[in-house]
Amino acid sequence: MTDLTDLTLAQARKRLADKDVSASELTDAYLAAISERNGALNAYISVTEDIAREGAVASDKRIAEGTAGPLEGIPLGVKDLYATKGTHTQACSHILDGFKPPYESTVTQNLWDAGAVMLGKLNMDEFAMGSSNETSHYGPVVNPWQRDLMNVAVRSEGGDVGTIESPPKDDTPLVPGGSSGGSAAAVAARLCVAATASDTGGSIRQPAAFTGTVGVKPTYGRCSRWGMVAFASSLDQAGPIARTVEDAALMLNVMASPDAKDTTCVDRPVPDYTATIGDSIKGMTIGIPREYRIDGMAEEIDGLWSQGIAWLKDAGANIVDISLPHTKYALPAYYIVAPAEASSNLARYDGVRYGLRVDGSDITDMYEKTRAAGFGDEVQRRILIGTYVLSAGFYDAYYTKAQKVRTLIKHDFEMAYADGVDCILTPATPSAAFPIGDKEMAADPVKMYLNDVFTVTVNMAGLPGIAVPAGLSVEGLPLGLQLIGKPFEESDLFRVGSVIEANAGHFAP
């Protein structure tokens, strides 16, 4: 019998429905895996054992009664920025010390209503600000992948995800990407079936690419943001990280919903995202944007991209070169818009209503000391940039200008789609995972920001995107390709993504 934690979500669902395995057995297998491996990976910062076991018992009861939900008995990890009633919710910041929300986020409530079981809260960059999961108050997450000196590519067909032992490994700890680093690492290391994540500039797709997992950032407005700790409200969007394209679709089926509590959440019915998986892509038009071929792009990334183009072409898609002329301005515009919104959103952490308080001589001193002690360096940096660009005399030069550039970025995509492009294929990241404590990135914040160069355009335009594992680097680390779709056409991403997956196979550390 294979290890229960090796089952994909789709496989686990079937085994549970067939009463071949119980939800309690499945949950216990994951809790055992967490207790064995989380110490080394630091993916979970809070394990909710009792809630998990009680949830599994309730699931078994519903399965027996024939009232199982679509995710009945599936053990999931939850990124620490989702409010989960009565349990740890701090966006991995010191400033939210001890905060336990008296309410549940809409996305997690949807999951529990569908029968899913919560294993615990997952590590992340503080307030989702980072691309390496190194800014967390709870310390970095370790990527379950290590460099493989023998470069043994492990590939298995179909849903049978396996791995073979390869001799010498370079055990330098690598980052899992960020900000959803805990989510990606936990899914890759089989410490949960799938996880919730969130994406403001690439925080789902970049860690998915770094860990050989599938990450989906839905269209802005597809999932409710209610109960998610806010970073940049016009960019933030919830999404899943899972092991396969089908698993990601099964998660989004439940996570997405209309919600009266979030006025930016759209009132559109949620289709069955698994419906298009495996459909032919013959006749679909895939755009290849020339501006994504950036200076100094690693050969292996370029090679991966060409391989992806060839797969889609072989599957019958029309490949067309397209131009998205404002691509290079997306990242600088993002580093005005996102910090500006963050400086406003994070003004609420003042030591009065929740979280950390450091006493001071008067109320202003209390605010200043609390925020100095409670926010980490990266968060402080972004608050200050945001405060500066919004301050009197600079607002138009920075913020208004960046929002105009954003209009142009969105217009680029609209032109491509108007010309008949269905999806756009790009690399997901400019490199494979890098070591924890990388000196160059630590010394220059902009170097770290460049990790999101291929993903951030999608947030700026509010579009859906998916990162699908597509191969291994020369060092044996996973690399991903990104597909960008039309607004609310996530189904296209699952359809085309499944073609990449069928060709590339699955990757496990």
Binding site: T219, G221, V352, A372, T407, Y449
Partner: protein, 95 residues
């Protein structure tokens, strides 16, 4: 545009974050690196371009102007670092 140390301190004051002189110096360099990076936006011609206000083209939904929540003062104050019954406690503000 670049910032000097006194600007960093002024902005930190606006953001209500206490910083030391040493930290202000570090932050000056870090912020200037970021401001230098975003300067490339000067190359973009944005004449006649509307600033984006929403990425999704739809009218924001509005709820009925009725009370739909409340009477949860216990919940609202549950996480306060200092409270007295249903009041948040702060250092004296008015002399």
């Amino acid at each position: 545009m670049s910032v000097d140390q006194s600007t960093v301190k002024r902005v930190a004051k606006l953001a209500r974050i206490a910083i030391t002189d040493n930290r202000a110096e570090e932050l000056r360099d870090e912020l200037n690196t970021i401001l230098g990076f975003v300067e490339q936006l000067d190359e973009v011609d944005v004449d006649g371009v509307e600033p984006m206000t929403s990425v999704v083209d739809f009218d924001m939904k509005k709820r009925a102007d009725t009370v739909n929540d409340g009477e949860i003062a216990d919940d609202v104050t549950a996480n306060a670092p200092a409270k007295d019954e249903h009041f948040f406690m702060v250092p004296k503000v008015v002399e």
